[in-house]
């Protein structure tokens, strides 16, 4: 990917939470680059640091969380050097975010319209009320809400879950941001509604040319919408690649485990689902070696001693596992 095509570049980002019990390395050195008009999925179980990583991009990290290293570059600008006011103007304008639970993410005491228009007016003081309202109605129609004019004056509790998530999407896109971060946007919804929302996001992405970072623990959703996928485990990206590579040639044992534990409708229905055993590691006391080693079925002695480096399989497909090096050594140099 050429530099000019890069919308956002994250390099060796480290985020820690300083709790009374000690430092929790929620994000421990992750790097990726995302191009314009690209959709990247970030997959991982809860606590893997995927949301924390997103929050640090948009500057929503709250005490006791702090970025302690690395860089985030957005269109060539260093986001970590922004002042709070610059960050505020950046949020919602260039990058916006939608969240997991649409039931609690809208302020219950203000109308949907009021909250939509606020997203506009806090970045554009000069816009008139009528224009803001017209734009908000337009956005509501765009996300498929009927009677938008009437709906504008209703309160969140008068909306269904799916409707609220649509309103959230409208609110996130109202300033035409270049990047949308979607933090588990469909997790709290019914399955049928999930599909509708995904469909909507897909079509809006095409229409508005927005890049998306799509955070989820659901691989099925990833397959649906993403171009590239980062698989996160315990604060690190363990495997990254485009969606086909990840699904059809998964390399990291964790990714394989995830795929094996996912029900697939397209394959043999009798195939058993295999869960990944064990529980995620305690980030307060991370192991010395590979974070996944204690749960890995194919764990080697080195895995318990050293953190694995990334192996590059070309076309942006990388994976951090000692097994790759073992294979390479067994095969000898230049096995290609």
């Amino acid at each position: 990917m050429r530099e000019t095509d890069t919308l956002i570049k994250v390099e060796d980002l480290r985020v820690s939470f300083f709790t009374p019990a000690g430092e929790v390395k929620a994000v421990d050195g992750i790097s990726y680059a995302l191009g314009y008009n690209e959709v990247m999925g970030v997959v991982g179980e809860s606590g893997s640091g995927k949301s924390v990583e997103a929050y640090s991009i948009i500057g929503l990290l709250q005490n006791p969380g702090r970025v302690i290293g690395g860089s985030i570059t957005f269109e060539g600008e260093d986001l970590l050097a922004y002042t709070p006011e610059q960050m505020r103007q950046f949020r919602g304008n260039k990058v916006s975010m939608i969240f997991q639970n649409p039931m609690t993410c809208l302020n219950p005491v203000y109308t949907i319209g009021d909250q939509l228009m606020e997203a506009l007016t806090c970045h554009d003081k000069s816009i008139s009320r009528q224009d803001a309202r017209a734009r908000a109605i337009e956005m509501l129609e765009l996300v498929g809400i009927n009677n938008a004019d009437k709906r504008m004056d209703q309160y969140p509790h008068e909306f269904s879950g799916g409707m609220r998530q649509r309103a959230m999407i409208a609110m996130a896109l109202i300033c035409k941001p270049k990047l949308l971060i979607a933090d588990e946007p469909t997790t709290a919804l019914d399955v049928t509604i999930q599909a509708q929302i995904l469909e909507l996001m897909k079509s809006l992405q095409k229409q508005e040319n927005t890049s998306i970072i799509f955070i989820t623990h659901n691989l099925g959703v990833v397959a649906e919408i993403c171009d590239r996928v980062s698989v996160m485990y315990a604060g690190k990206i363990v495997e990254q690649g485009n969606v086909n590579d990840i699904f059809y040639q998964p390399l990291h044992p964790y990714t394989r485990g995830l795929l094996a534990s996912m029900p697939r409708l397209d394959e043999d229905a009798h195939e058993r689902l295999i869960p990944i055993e064990g529980t995620p590691i305690d980030l307060l006391n991370p192991p010395k070696g590979c974070n996944f080693a204690p749960r890995c079925k194919d764990c080697r002695k080195i895995c318990l001693r050293e953190k694995p480096p990334y192996a590059d399989f070309g076309d942006g497909h990388i994976s951090a596992c000692w097994l790759h090096f073992m294979e390479a050594m067994n095969k000898g140099v230049g096995a290609e």
Binding site: R88, R91, F99, T104, C105, L106, Y110, C122, Y155
Partner: protein, 313 residues
Amino acid sequence: MASYILKRILAAIGTLLIIMAITFFLMNAIPGNPFLSEKASPQAIELAFKKYGLDKPLIVQFRNYVSNYLHGDLGVSLKMQEGTDVAKILFQQGKFDLSIKLGISALVLAVLIGIPLGCIAAYRRGTWLDGLLRVMTTVGVAIPTFVLATLLLAVLAVQLRWLDPKSGSLTDFRSFIMPVISLSSYYICYVAKLTRTSMLDAINQDYIRTARAKGVKTRVLVLKHALRNSLIPVITYLGPVTAGIITGSFVVESTFQIPGLGKYFVQSVLNRDYPVIMATTVVLSALVIVMNLVVDIAYRLVDPRITLTNREG
């Protein structure tokens, strides 16, 4: 809305009837009677009993109370101002006025000072200002009204002689200062604490994160998004406050020698002046009930999720 209010008023009348019954039972259970004194002969007492209908069976007496009240007749005082209309004593001699003036001033102060203080503390949480306010409010809710009242009296009136120790009829601003401060300080502090807590609670809500992600300014975040949500528990608290302020006013009135309702009630109990006891209880209960209704309506204005008809008890 109208039907809801009507329903509430009917319920209020029911409540008042029960309160009347309780009061009637209790005041008749007080040993002795209003006419008992060293001078009074048994004949004189009997005569007085006949005159005021106290010789009738209790159930008849109670029925008379209820029917008189329905006609707006609160009866006449038996002892303290014998023969005077109770309504006249309460409303025309300024007793009710004084208590209401005092109570409303304290309530207004609690809201106007308490809520902003709570907001400031929440907005500046973790700073020295927050710390200072927390210490002040925590100490404030631990000082009993009468202690504060006497302290003010001892310092401002007795030692420094800035103010008159007897506030009397609260005719000018200066006479208001000590009673209102002593009455409201607990509620100012409590409201401030409550606002701070619910504000911090609100600030941690998901919708605040959404607003932050939109790029809303911190000031707007606190004053618009968090404040209105955090007012809900504060408003809930204002109902009981009214009852509490009546309690406080008893002490304040006796400390500053204000001839208000509270002091009169205590005297009427000690004197067994039945109609006065009954009327004061009913008037004050009605006040509390009305206040609770006002709070419920205010609730509706702040929180659109609550429809008055199906608010959970």
